[in-house]
């Protein structure tokens, strides 16, 4: 495993909820990332973010790591959940809320 995959591994396994995104939670740099942050904010869940625009290595490697070509990407307890479209669909169906409950991720 290369260094960057090791770094991603640490991030994904070391945080209950982590969003790989463009920009920060406060200043998202892309509409899809912005929507992902809004959903998590709305759920009141504590989450970490990784700004891929600040880390070219992760930006490239996360695509293969997740087998997913786009950003944002959400991980919950080490498990890949999806991008912003999937987050929105799951949120609307109550599945995202259920997932967070099942994984025992605390809401703020």
């Amino acid at each position: 495993m290369s260094d960057v995959n090791g770094r991603i591994d640490e991030i994904v396994k070391g945080n209950d909820v982590v969003l790989f995104m463009k920009g920060s939670a406060l200043f998202p740099q892309c509409g899809f990332s912005s929507r992902a942050v809004q959903i998590l904010d709305h759920l009141g869940v504590a989450f970490e973010t990784v700004d891929v625009l600040q880390d070219a290595e992760i930006r490239q490697a996360i695509k293969a790591y997740s087998d997913w070509p786009t950003i944002p990407q959400l991980y919950v307890k080490g498990e890949f959940v999806g991008g912003s479209d999937i987050m929105m669909e799951m949120y609307e169906d109550g599945e995202l809320q259920q997932l967070l409950r099942d994984k025992q991720v605390g809401t703020a």
Binding site: F32, K63, W68, P69, T70, I71, G82, I86, E89, M90
Partner: protein, 77 residues
Amino acid sequence: MPMAAEEIETLIRQAIPDALVEITDLAGDGDHYAARVVAESFRGVSRVMRTRRVYDALGGRMGGELHALQLTTAVPD
């Protein structure tokens, strides 16, 4: 180079023959699309796997040539 809506639809249909594909050009600029893909073959398939199938159909264009594709998947009612 932006992609034409018809090209996106054709690629998805080729890979997922039972798919009904609805494309909306969100900004009218040929670069920001929404696609809704409905296919019986999606039944029992997770959202992540459905999306991967569509992305695979687009042959590596996602995240590159095709930046902004809002994608929803569903099974027929």
